[in-house]
């Protein structure tokens, strides 16, 4: 019986493959989001906390049981209900709701509900417009604003969502940080100063019409104009904050068209346009306007674990040799080679985006590797020298969490507090 290669495979036509691909991609993205929630660091602690709570309750129960019979028996503790769903229906005035994780300002005639599924926060908008100020969520699951079939995923930022009468388009405007807008299984990062609309997609925000007093917006202008909110960025500013801060923020918003090029959303295919052998140049910020100039200096002064020295003058050849080692060796050698790929890509090839991807892969693959801390610090260095944004702060937080006693921990701590 010789049958190998004699059973021809009926090909699937392109249309069927496209359908399958679409469903698979949608399912895969869902699985990835669920997986990220499942593997959030805080999740590991929850069973421990739950076990401790059960043990404590048992101890209390035992103590009660052991008490003299003449003493009154304690009433059983009431069962604490799950966090209730908050329904908000605003009156003719604007209203403000503080849910702890976020401060929500809503326009007149706005309706929304807040729930807390799986440790995250879900704000389902039925109609109207919300402006949100979300605190940094760290390792907690993200806060999601859902307006119809559009999800806005947040890890800490300020933005607004306008859902009109609850049946039409959605308008998302970001004033600080970055959010991810998920619509029809397409995910779009929206950075500060950018706007996303259901029909138009991502556009640069045409100025803050509330503050500037300009005419109505092209879409999504609130139906009833409430009193103009106070300038929110001053609310969080400490009294001793430098006066240049608003200017810097303003400048950052003015530079919006460049935002997608930041390492927030690195692309593998981004060409390395900078000369090899140098750390990539970072956006130039005038020293007098940069409140973090000393922090940048401190980052640069911090030692970085060097790449494995192969005596290879050509960085591309060196990376190829590291690939070979990473693929065919194991343990420390593979770990060191993998880290070296990232280091060479960044320092010698000037390719921060690819270096970041390699570092992310390293952190996932070698959680106990010798270069684990060095890889985390290199992530901090790449991200934070590029921009003090949410990605930088998240990287710094991770580093601080994993290496609290490292020499650079104090820098990471300062980075987590940057605005």
């Amino acid at each position: 019986v010789r049958l190998a290669g004699r059973i021809p495979v009926e090909p699937l036509d392109e249309e069927r493959l496209t359908h399958i691909e679409r469903r698979v991609v949608a399912g895969a993205v869902d699985a990835a989001i669920r997986g990220q929630r499942l593997h959030a660091p805080g999740r590991l602690l929850r069973p421990v906390i739950a076990a401790a709570a059960i043990a404590a309750a048992g101890a209390v129960g035992w103590a009660i049981r052991g008490a003299p019979a003449s003493e009154p028996v304690a009433e059983p503790a009431p069962v604490v209900p799950a966090a209730p769903e908050i329904h908000v229906q605003t009156a003719p005035q604007r209203s403000v709701v503080d849910i702890g994780d976020a401060r929500i300002e809503s326009d007149p005639d706005t309706a929304f509900a807040v729930t807390r599924p799986g440790g995250g926060v879900l704000i389902a908008v039925a109609r109207g417009k919300l402006e949100l100020e979300v605190g940094k969520r760290g390792a907690r699951p993200p806060l999601v604003v859902r307006a119809g079939d559009t999800d806005v995923v947040v890890v800490g930022t300020r933005f607004s969502v306008d859902y009109g009468d609850g049946s039409g388009d959605v308008d998302v405007r970001v004033t600080e940080g970055v959010v991810r807008v998920v619509h029809l299984q397409q995910e779009t990062p929206v950075a500060a100063g950018q706007e996303w609309r259901t029909r138009a997609g991502l556009v640069a925000m045409a100025g803050d019409t509330r503050e500037a007093g300009a005419g109505p917006l092209p879409t999504g202008e609130p139906r009833a104009a409430g009193p103009a909110p106070e300038p929110q960025r001053d609310r969080k500013r400490p009294p001793d904050a430098p006066e240049v801060l608003p200017t810097v923020l303003h400048d950052r918003r003015a530079a919006v068209p460049d935002a997608p090029a930041a390492p927030q959303a690195p692309t593998r295919s981004a060409p390395a346009t900078r000369p090899a052998g140098r750390e990539p140049a970072h956006p130039r910020v005038a020293v007098r306007d940069d409140p973090h100039v000393d922090l940048r200096t401190a980052i640069r002064a911090q030692r970085v674990e060097p790449a494995l020295d192969l005596g290879e003058p050509n960085p591309a050849s060196a990376v190829a040799r590291y690939y070979d080692i990473a693929a065919h060796r194991s343990g420390d050698e593979a770990s060191q080679a993998f880290y070296s790929i990232a280091a060479v890509r960044y320092f010698r090839q000037g390719n921060g985006a690819d270096a970041l991807q390699t570092l992310d892969a390293y952190v996932r693959r070698f959680p106990g590797g010798k270069e684990y801390r060095a890889a985390l610090w290199l992530r901090v260095r790449i991200l934070c020298l590029a921009r003090f944004d949410e990605a930088c702060r998240a990287a710094a937080y991770t580093y601080l969490h994993e290496a609290p006693d490292a020499p650079a921990a104090h820098i990471a701590e300062r980075l987590t507090q940057t605005e």
Binding site: R6, E10, I20, R23, V24, A32, A320
Partner: protein, 210 residues
């Protein structure tokens, strides 16, 4: 090239784990043909093939975090697909909805030497009867046989894919082969397909066929 591909796989999986749709699409496109061929040879022409291919890849993406880069990504994906095929076979209790082939086998039987078209028809009938015999095997034996004999994979790889030892896999393949030989002894169409007279292999894609 292998090393580069390996590292690329690691990076691609990492992008998939962040939920990046482009990475997911790229992974699907890289592996879909091979997985489809594997499922097709294991299960035969099947109405549920679209669903099975989709199910296999959804399983891949749901389990992607567990890929530890110890095996090659392709082998790991094949293993998930084989498990998916196994579940399908087990659930349907070996009753595979094999698509009926359109023409009547009797015509080919009566005139096998009538021309290339008739020979191609005979090959189709032979495949249909082969899968009818395979339907009688246990899912594990069927998968071992199809992966090794039809897909042409080495025994060691087949054993890894079905999650058995090489010895057990070899035994399953041998038993399946015996079963097919016994069926071929009683079925001239199947016999002509698996042991063509004069050693001339009958193919669907006979270049001489009209």
């Amino acid at each position: 090239v292998t090393a580069v591909l390996y590292v690329e796989d690691v990076l691609l999986v990492d992008r998939c784990l962040t939920g990046e749709p482009a990475a997911t699409r790229e992974l699907f496109r890289r592996h879909r043909s091979r997985v489809h061929a594997c499922l097709f040879r294991a299960l035969g022409s099947n109405r549920d093939m679209d669903d099975l291919l989709q199910e296999a890849f959804l399983q891949v993406f749901q389990s992607l975090r567990s890929w530890r880069a110890e095996a090659s990504l392709a082998t790991w994906i094949d293993r998930v697909a084989v498990r998916c095929a196994y579940r399908h076979l087990a659930q349907r209790q070996r009753r595979i909805a094999t698509d009926p082939l359109d023409d009547d086998a009797a015509g080919a039987l009566t005139a096998p030497e009538a021309g290339p078209g008739a020979r191609r028809q005979l090959a189709r009938d032979g495949v249909a009867r082969l899968y009818a015999v395979l339907d009688e095997l246990s899912p594990a034996a069927r998968l071992a046989f199809t992966l090794h004999e039809l897909d042409g994979r080495p025994l060691a790889e087949t054993a890894e894919l079905v999650g058995s030892s090489v010895t057990a896999t070899k035994l399953r393949v041998w038993r399946a082969r015996k079963r097919i030989e016994a069926a071929a002894a009683a079925d001239p169409v199947l016999r002509e397909f698996v042991e063509p007279a004069g050693g001339q292999v009958i193919r669907f894609d006979d270049p001489g066929a009209p």
